[in-house]
């Protein structure tokens, strides 16, 4: 059985190409059925996400499959094959397995370590399973890929740190407060970024939220989103000492919060830590506020630096992930190769058994009447001889199954014993 993968991803194709090649969930079944009608295709799966469209197929060993998957992709999506050809990548055999493992483990994702791809891969697997296009070889590879992805995620820290500005703010809040349950959050200026950060904070357990904005309508809109209370814009400073986290994203042309004001606020809080997230441009909080003890001020650039550092850390972790994948590819190749020589072993054993039975039948007439004990002794003798003859070749077959240079040995044993 041969394994082929072809497709496009965010590295090889622009979004204009990816969006035209993408398969809608409702069209996936028909596409899989069409693919299975291609000559030699035994198993198939199609993975289609916003960053990747790829077709994987297990085809018969002797099938001429050059360009078959590429042609299918072009035809299925009504695309000129010449136009997509430069954007396609192709993998076969061991490289295809490695590629599938890397995709499932999120090492090939736009944001290395993102968790969605594994879910999308599992959905593609479920769709193929529902269409009956998985039956053995490819299914083994895919289920192994899910285990490998889990192993990479468990044994490395590839998915540990925040890689978006809004989520980085939440991670920092956790570093300051530990749990965010019961923490009080004030949103000053109801912009899109502050909405995102507030959404993450809410999910992390911050339940008490206050929103203030120059335009009351927008404040009401956001308050509805987060079940927050509205605070008059000109009175928000009076409530600051009660707040643990303050997100500012006002369009004010000057600082809304200055060091002296915040000194009084932190004194009123009896030095309980306070986290200020200033995502306004121009900045809303005087940078010197960060000099105050127990006040932690992060502006948009600070958060971006945290994200950069986390992304770099993920790439470093990805190197460990690659090592795990290399090890897992080897392990699976050995298993698959061992499975490939199983029919040869069975065939050899059948051949020798037929030989034994035929020879026994041939000499039986000359032996005359035998007692049951004598029959049993002859059976045991001939079986023992055959087993001893078979032992050497079977051991060689098993030993060479997983080796790259083992194929000539397998072929030679086939020829010597006249195996089909």
């Amino acid at each position: 059985m041969r394994l082929l993968v072809t497709g496009v991803n965010h590295k090889t194709a622009p979004v204009e190409v990816r969006e035209r090649l993408a398969f809608d969930q409702t069209a996936l079944g028909a596409a899989l059925r069409a693919l299975m009608k291609r000559p030699g295709v035994v198993e198939a799966v199609i993975l289609s996400t916003c960053n990747r469209v790829e077709v994987t197929a297990a085809i018969e060993e002797d099938c001429q499959a050059d360009g078959m998957l590429e042609a299918f992709l072009a035809e299925a999506r009504g695309f000129d094959r010449q136009r997509i050809e430069p954007h396609l990548y192709r993998h076969e055999g061991r490289e295809a397995i490695r590629h599938i493992f890397r995709v499932a483990a999120s090492l090939d994702s736009m944001m290395v370590g993102e968790p969605q791809i594994l879910g999308q891969f599992k959905a593609a697997y479920a769709a193929a399973k529902a269409e009956g296009t998985l039956s053995g070889f490819l299914e083994t590879v895919l289920t192994r890929a899910f285990c490998v992805a889990k192993r990479v995620r468990t044994e490395t820290e590839i998915g540990q740190s925040a890689v978006s500005v809004s989520y980085a703010a939440v991670e920092l809040a956790r570093e300051i407060f530990g749990t965010l349950a019961g923490k009080r959050v004030m949103i000053v200026g109801a912009g899109k970024m502050s909405e995102l950060a507030a959404r993450h904070l809410r999910r992390a357990g911050a339940t008490h939220m206050l929103v203030t904005n120059r335009t009351r309508e927008r404040a009401e809109e956001m308050a509805r989103l987060f079940e927050a209370h509205i605070l008059e814009y000109d009175r928000f400073k009076a409530a600051l000492s009660e707040m643990d986290i303050v997100i500012t994203s006002s369009a004010a042309p000057h600082y809304l919060l200055r060091k002296d004001e915040m000194r009084r606020v932190i004194e009123a809080r009896r030095n309980r830590p306070m986290f200020l997230i200033d995502i306004g441009v121009p900045r809303n909080v005087e940078p010197a506020v960060n000099e105050l003890d127990n006040v932690f001020l992060y502006d948009i650039d600070d958060l971006a630096r945290v994200v950069d550092s986390n992304v770099q850390a993920r790439h470093k972790e990805a190197e460990e992930g690659e090592a795990i994948i290399a090890e897992e590819v080897e392990r699976l190749m050995e298993r698959l190769s061992a499975r490939a020589v199983a029919p040869v072993i069975v065939s050899l054993q059948e051949q020798l058994e037929q030989l034994r039975c035929a020879e026994l039948e041939r000499v039986r007439g000359r032996l005359g009447q035998l007692t049951p004990q004598q029959e049993e002794a002859i059976e045991a003798l001939t079986r023992g001889i055959m087993n001893k003859i078979a032992h050497g070749p079977i051991a060689e077959l098993r030993k060479n199954a997983g080796r790259p240079n083992g194929i000539p040995v397998v072929d030679m044993i086939r020829r010597v014993f006249r195996l089909e």
């Binding site: 530990g178 003890d293 850390a313």
Partner: protein, 272 residues
């Protein structure tokens, strides 16, 4: 007459001990469930304290500040009066966390002027001493934890301030967790050391009468307790965190080590 004055003083100390209990509970539980009874007992204690001082003053014919014990008693009384005034005028209840234990310990020391009869049972004597040692060691262990957690807090705070968080974040707990740990361990340290000091004072009073108070190592021990008291007060009233709190806890731990070193020969006291 003199004995009667000491009796009233000891009764006042017993009432002040409710305030001490309030201070310990406040530090451990971060709430003040006993403040009402404590301030009530404190007021009655102040009256009995006044009776004691007046009786002694009448007896000696002047303000009784002739020796260390009498001075400690008058000092405790004045502090108690000041606290009652501040509480009446400004409702500054959290000052009690600092002043209740201080007034109690000063009054306790003042009440040891007249020796009591010696130990009736040597086993009680040894057990009492061992309880003191155990309490103090538990207190020092908690103080060590406070100091280590405070230094970790400081390091984590610096990393968050520098805004280059990655390197250390994974290895240190969040500030909130460290803060909880510091509060709890500091409360325990204060409770154990206070009880240890009381156990030691009463033991030494019965054992040595009035001689023990003049020793230098006793002064160091009281200083250590005083620093712990100050640390707890600054934490609960002013919310001291970060650098200042870390330095103070390390200083308290250092004083604790000196006190320990000064008392290493205590084991020999167990065998007469």
């Amino acid at each position: 007459m003199h004995e009667l004055s000491i009796f009233w003083l000891r009764a006042a100390a017993a009432l002040y001990s409710v305030g001490l209990l309030h201070a310990i509970l406040t530090v451990l539980r971060r709430s003040a469930p006993l403040f009402g009874p404590a301030i009530g007992a404190f007021r009655v204690g102040v009256i009995l304290h006044l009776v004691s001082i007046v009786e002694l003053g009448v007896s000696v014919g002047h303000l009784p500040v002739d020796n260390f014990y009498e001075s400690a008693s008058v000092c405790a009384f004045l502090i108690a009066l000041v606290f009652l005034f501040v509480h009446w005028r400004y409702q500054f209840a959290s000052l009690g966390v600092f002043l209740f234990p201080l007034v109690f310990v000063l009054t306790l020391v003042g009440a040891t002027e007249i020796p009591v009869a010696g130990w009736q049972n040597p086993r009680v004597r040894d057990a009492w001493l061992l309880v003191h040692v155990l309490l103090i060691l538990l207190g020092y262990a908690a103080l060590l934890l406070t100091a280590v957690a405070s230094v970790f807090y400081l390091v984590q705070e610096r990393h968050l301030k520098k805004k280059q968080p990655r390197a250390f974040f994974d290895r240190l707990p969040p500030l909130g967790t460290l803060d909880n740990l510091i509060t709890r361990s500091m409360g325990l340290a204060f409770a154990f050391i206070t009880l240890g000091v009381i156990a030691a004072s009463t033991w030494a009073f019965v054992e040595s009468g009035t001689r023990w108070i003049r020793q230098a190592k006793i002064g160091i021990a009281f200083l250590t307790w005083g620093v712990c008291l100050g640390m707890v007060f600054l934490r609960t009233s002013a919310g001291w965190r970060g650098r200042k709190a870390a330095l103070l806890s390390v200083f308290a731990l250092g004083l604790g080590a000196v006190t320990w070193a000064a008392h290493v020969g205590l084991r020999s006291l167990l065998t007469r």
